[in-house]
């Protein structure tokens, strides 16, 4: 058996371990929280989020942010985490409260649900993964904490979410009208005539931090930055992607025209969709009559 002398020594060592350990831990916890003493009162409304009956608390979100997010978004929430220098595109700067994926008008704050969906969905072709493995409560807590990085959240309300009307029928006429919109709105200047993200302006684009940014390449067939459904695509160009060169077209495009554009954009993706099927049939029959999209084209007349 272990000698008594040793047992006493070990007991003393263990006591030192058990008493000093938590002391050190408490010291660290105090350090982290002293910067924001109010963050710790879960009942403060401005430090909560509300998503589908789940109430998130910034105090809990702070622990999760430290565990999951700090490496990229940084200890100050400004997108300057230790890994930011290696990441392209750069992590979001939460202190600006500017978010690409919203259901609200350009320039306004997103809803809690918008942030929740962004965390859940992640951002394709970026370093932001899907955080679906976290529980809904954890994601709601993170939303509440993300909102504490900017004073805008205390002063402003989120914008009114966009109402998306029922989708119009998918027809070849709708696709052709959408193609004309693609030409008229000069989408091709960034996204390219074939939607490959290689338009004449593509190489010059920068985000609001002056970092180079690439327009979406429809030919990759990947998910969109802010979703994957037709409704998501509709929302993207009606709200714009704040902080990026992608503007909102809500003031210049009517809902029916927006659906036409959605239907056309789907034909640019290598996916088996109804739009693609209709378009391929049309091209087979009228290919030689289709005028290319570009600077001198009148695509509206086919």
């Amino acid at each position: 058996m272990i000698p008594n002398k040793f047992a006493v020594r070990f007991a003393l060592g263990s006591m030192a371990l058990l008493t000093l350990g938590p002391t050190v831990v408490t010291a660290q916890a105090t350090h982290v929280n002293s910067v924001n003493p109010n963050l710790g009162a879960p009942s403060v409304e401005s430090e909560q989020s509300h998503i589908d009956g789940v109430t998130g608390h910034a105090y809990n979100g702070k622990k999760l942010y430290r565990r999951f997010c700090i490496g990229c978004h940084g200890p100050d929430g400004n997108g300057e985490g230790e890994n930011a220098q290696w990441i392209d595109p750069k992590p979001r700067d939460f202190t600006e409260a500017t978010f690409k994926c919203r259901s609200t008008p350009t320039g306004t704050l997103p809803t809690d649900e918008d942030l929740y969906n962004a965390i859940t969905r992640g951002f394709v072709t970026t370093n932001m993964p899907q955080w679906r493995p976290l529980s809904p409560q954890q994601r709601a807590d993170l939303v509440a904490f993300v909102k504490t990085w900017s004073p805008r959240w205390a002063k402003e309300k989120p914008g009114t979410p966009l109402t998306i009307p029922s989708e119009t029928p998918i027809t070849i006429d709708s696709i052709l009208r959408g193609r004309a919109m693609f030409q008229k709105l000069e989408c091709w200047k960034c996204h390219g005539p074939e939607g490959h993200g290689d338009g004449p302006s593509a190489a010059t684009l920068t985000d609001d931090k002056s970092n180079p940014i690439r327009p979406y390449n429809f030919s990759t067939g990947t998910r969109f930055m802010c979703g994957e459904t037709n409704q998501d695509l509709y929302r993207i160009f009606m709200t714009g992607l704040d902080g990026s060169p992608m503007p909102s077209f809500a003031d210049v495009v009517k809902p029916d025209e927006a659906w036409d554009l959605v239907h056309f954009l789907r034909t640019l993706q290598p996916l088996k969709t109804q739009e693609a099927s209709l378009w391929q049939s049309y091209v087979s029959a009228h290919g030689k009559d289709i005028k290319p999209i570009g600077p001198d084209s009148a695509a509206g007349a086919q």
Binding site: V35, F68, I70, G71
Partner: protein, 496 residues
């Protein structure tokens, strides 16, 4: 106004003063212990791969509750074939200078003590029952990890692992085809891999000789006390096996299943039962492992805590030879006379705030020939021989003060249900074990990790030497004697 961690302060790094304070108490704890002589440690078994953190720019804590233990996000990442599924997983997206290599080793000081040992002393006549105690500075084994994707949805792991003397073997080596037919429910792995244990021994937080293994994951019935014949079964559910695995999971890995068919040779190579030279030939049969688990959100439990609750069940059915076909010199060529065994159990992973509880219960059963060490062609079984069975399990608790500090505890108990021989004492082979530990991760960045690990573990086994891997080990004089083996461990566990 700053709303978070303080301008210019990285909360992933402790201030120097607090680091010194923490180091001081660890050194203090070391000074209170006796130092005698060095012993041996088991190979480093656990997995933590900062090569992945480097690839994706995420901190260790994103995938690990405390590395190397996985959280659910890490589980999903693993289940997806080490992919985040953001269309940046394929090697084509990596900087050409990136190479997915990680090493891990743990310099340490440890003390091992085992009582009720039959010992002799040079120049002193006679055999005594005594306590063998060793202590000193030491090294663990070393893991040299490589893992990642060969292409989108084709992933791999290669893990050469050495013991402390740099004797190498392949701990893991497999290729995995992920998301077959575009579905996360179909993934196929081929090679040497860990069985899909809900509570992984490869990713747990204990390192000491007594605490650094789950006793139940390696337990086999003790055999026949009167003759000293041991169980012929060498199976441990914690050991990596060679074979093929079909595995599936829901998108968030809340639901998981796996079916593995593996060779009946305990992960050995060259068709033997050993990963290194010198194993005995295996037989020509296959074992099957089934595992299923389901996670769920328990409202009120996940708030501010680690997240999900998970429960699961597993079953392993296998065979082992009881004698060999030999050459004319008596050297074994291939195992024959296969007899069966099985292990079944349930396990869970529960979090209550910052407390994580990991319970496991297992029932094991070996054929009577295996249990009594008899060849199945040696005639009828003696009337006292029975098929041995056992029941056991453990409960392990982790308390996470924060991602960088975790306190550990485990209690483990194995009781023989039925002895292999009626003349055995009823408690022959029973095991009781417990461990305390504390891990502090002063470095938990996306490029490297350092943990300071302090542990105390004790194991008691009746009539047999504990499965402690501490280098000592003779059965006691009497099968009713309890052998206590203890470990104290202080180490610097680092990987890069």
């Amino acid at each position: 106004m700053s709303r978070g961690f303080g301008k210019g302060v990285n909360p992933m790094k402790w201030p120097q003063s607090k680091s010194l304070l923490a180091c001081s108490f660890l050194v203090l704890a070391m000074l209170f212990c006796d130092v005698h002589a060095a012993g041996a440690l088991p190979n480093s078994k656990v997995m933590a791969i900062p090569a992945f953190a480097r690839k994706y720019g995420l901190p260790c804590s994103a995938c690990h509750t405390a590395w190397p233990e996985l959280n659910n996000f890490g589980q999903v990442f693993r289940d997806n074939g080490y992919q985040l599924m953001n269309d940046r997983d394929s090697p084509i997206w990596q900087n050409p200078s990136y190479f997915p290599i990680t090493f891990r080793i743990t310099p340490n000081w440890h003390r091992e003590s085992t009582d009720h040992q039959q010992v002799q002393t040079q120049n002193v006549s006679g055999t005594f029952t005594g306590t063998v105690t060793q202590a000193g500075f030491d090294l663990s084994g070393m893991d040299l990890w490589s893992g990642g994707t060969l292409y989108k949805n084709i992933s791999f792991i290669l893990l050469p692992s050495s013991d402390a003397t740099a004797t190498w073997h392949f701990e893991s080596a497999f290729v995995r085809f992920d998301n077959l037919k575009g579905s996360p429910w179909f993934n196929v792995k081929f090679g040497k891999f860990e069985l899909d244990n809900l509570i992984s021994e490869k990713r747990f937080l204990f390192l000491s000789a007594n605490g650094g293994l789950y006793q139940i994951y390696h337990f086999t019935p003790p055999g026949v006390a009167a003759t000293g014949a041991g169980d012929l079964n060498d199976f441990g559910i914690g050991d990596n096996q060679i074979g093929i695995e079909l595995m599936g999971h829901s998108k968030n890995s809340y639901t998981r299943y796996s079916i593995a068919v593996v060779s009946s040779n305990e992960g050995g190579v060259n068709l033997t039962n050993s990963s290194t030279v010198g194993g005995t030939p295996s037989n020509r049969t296959y074992d099957v492992n089934l595992a299923f688990s389901q996670a769920f959100n328990a409202k009120g439990f996940s708030a501010g805590g680690l997240g999900l609750q998970r429960v699961g069940a597993f079953a392993y059915v296998g065979q082992r030879p009881t004698y060999f076909q030999t050459d004319t010199s008596g050297n074994p060529l291939v195992g024959l006379g296969n007899k069966s065994f099985y292990r079944v159990g349930v396990a869970g992973d529960f979090s209550i705030g910052s407390l994580e509880l990991l319970p496991l219960f297992m029932h094991g059963h070996d054929n009577a020939y295996l249990g009594s060490g008899l060849a199945s062609n040696s005639g009828p079984l003696p009337s006292t021989t029975r098929a041995p069975s056992f029941n056991g399990g453990f409960i392990e608790a982790h308390y996470y003060f924060n991602p960088q500090n975790v306190a550990l505890f485990r209690f483990e108990k194995i009781n023989m249900g039925q002895q292999a021989d009626t003349t055995n004492p009823g408690d022959f082979g029973n095991v009781t074990a417990y461990s305390f530990g504390y891990r502090w991760y002063p470095i938990m960045l996306s490029r490297a990790g350092l943990a300071i690990d302090a542990e105390y573990s004790r194991t008691k086994s009746i009539g047999i030497v504990p499965e402690s891997g501490d280098g000592t080990g003779n059965p006691p004089l009497f099968p009713t004697d309890g052998v206590w083996s203890s470990s104290i461990f202080l180490g610097f566990d680092f990987d890069f």
